[in-house]
Amino acid sequence: MSSTVDGIVFLALAFATIGGAVMMLATRNVVHAAFWLLEVMLATAGLYMLLSAEFLALVQVLVYAGSVAVLILFTIMLTLRRREDAIRDFEPGWGAGILAVLFGGALLFAVERFSAQMRPGVMPEVVPDVAAFGEKLFTSWAVPFEIASLVLLVALVGAVWWSGGDGQ
């Protein structure tokens, strides 16, 4: 029963993820594209939730849906000089097409070549909770974690300095 429900939810979420990605590419309106990107992010969070990775799912919602998508929309809205500019013609270039085919081929080749060596991960019996995750993060991964936060801090200070203007 439970696995059936999980399967149905997974199918719905997987469809939402891939469908959203396709719609993002297919739509001609950049604001709609941003909306579809948001939908893909939320569906991905749902997939994490399905894997019992609640913390990751919530961080996905908070960071990607709550901030990155807003940032993208902000950028679009502030750089559009006229509202009509939001709608662009669909004009695929030859270069992009060749690149897509090459990348897709490489991906298929890699999957074909190495699929024998890749084994699906085994789900642990008990899902480790967020406390265990925090302990790992602040003991064995403390240095990478601190470096990551330092990089973000530098970016933040840089952004403030950049936007401060000459007067300050």
Binding site: V31, F35, L38, E54, L58, L62, V70, L73, V130
Partner: protein
């Protein structure tokens, strides 16, 4: 089975918010009237308490206007995503000792993360209206809500640090009365930042009537407008309940059904304080709003965290 319960809780949350919004509007009209030395609604029902029963059908029967140049799909459905996340965030509130509709080990984060979807819905609906004033309001609302998420999360973090858990039920179980003076600053920060998050006065710059008509929902009418209204009252109800649960120990000193009553009473007190603030202070300016967030609230929240850290080491 879990899915079915999920749907049931969804319905319950929407019903709670709708009912709470109806009562909240009446209560706000009474409170604001008293502050302005008026009586407020008094004709329909005792103390005008049935006024909203008359107002709801009026809202339902209003014409649903979609501007001709609006981005139809987004304009029509964005209000749903303004209201939805608020209703969803209600499920992790620990209503009494040992019981929350959804008991999850990251409940506190859930409550802070899920409403952030609302920001993007507001931004999209404001843009879809094809109206400069709406878009300006939407951009203001977004900047404000994203900024005030920082001090709000830091304030909640103080309680989480004391309790040593992100599970709301654990926080309520670990809560002691002397946390109240210790985390008072954190509560004040949470209170102010929550008001800013729900775009209420004195932080209602995004919907400033005198300059932006009604800001991001200026072009909405009927039920679509009502869903913005319900989102605001829903955010108020959720923030009050959650604040009462985390900062004032939920149903403390009672458990069980009496605990729920005590929690609701505490939440109503917080809600009344939110209304009191709205009807007392004048609206801030945009630059004052931002500098208050980044130069006052955020450092203060960090100081509070340090204090808690020292106390924890000393315990």
């Amino acid at each position: 089975m879990t899915l079915l319960w999920g749907f049931l809780w969804g319905v319950a949350a929407v019903a709670t918010i709708a009912g709470g919004a109806i009562l909240g509007v009446w209560w706000e009209r009474k409170v604001s009237a008293r502050i302005q030395m008026r009586y407020g609604p008094q004709q329909i029902g005792p103390f005008g308490s049935l006024q909203m029963i008359a107002d709801v059908p009026k809202l339902l029967f209003k014409e649903d206007i979609v501007p001709a140049l609006a981005d139809k799909a987004i304009f029509k459905y964005a209000p749903l995503f303004v209201f939805g996340p608020v209703a969803v965030s209600m499920v992790v509130i620990p209503f009494t000792a040992g019981w929350a509709p959804l008991d999850t080990s990251v409940g506190v984060l859930f409550f802070l993360a899920v409403p952030s979807i609302e920001v993007i819905a507001i931004l999209l609906s404001s843009w879809a209206s094809h109206n400069t004033l709406s878009t300006l309001g939407g951009l203001r609302a977004t900047a404000q809500m994203i900024s005030y998420e920082v001090p709000r999360s830091l304030a909640v973090l103080a309680i989480v640090l004391l309790a040593g858990s992100l599970r709301p039920l654990d926080v309520v179980a670990a809560w002691r009365w002397w946390w109240m003076p210790l985390t008072f600053v954190a509560f004040v920060i949470y209170f102010i930042a929550s008001i800013a998050e729900m775009n209420r006065g004195p932080f209602d710059i995004p919907e400033a009537e005198s300059e932006l008509v009604a800001g991001y929902f200026a072009d909405y009418s009927g039920m679509r407008w009502a869903s913005f209204m319900m989102a605001e009252y829903g955010a108020m109800i959720a923030a009050s309940l959650f604040g009462a649960a985390l900062f004032f120990g939920g149903g403390w000193p009672f458990g069980g059904a009496l605990g729920v009553v005590v929690l609701v009473v505490k939440a109503v007190l917080i809600m009344t304080a939110i209304m009191w603030v709205k009807w007392t202070f004048p609206r801030l300016r945009q630059d004052q709003l931002m500098s208050f967030c980044w130069k006052v609230l955020t450092p203060l929240a960090l100081v509070q965290l340090v204090v808690i850290g020292v106390v924890l080491a000393w315990l």
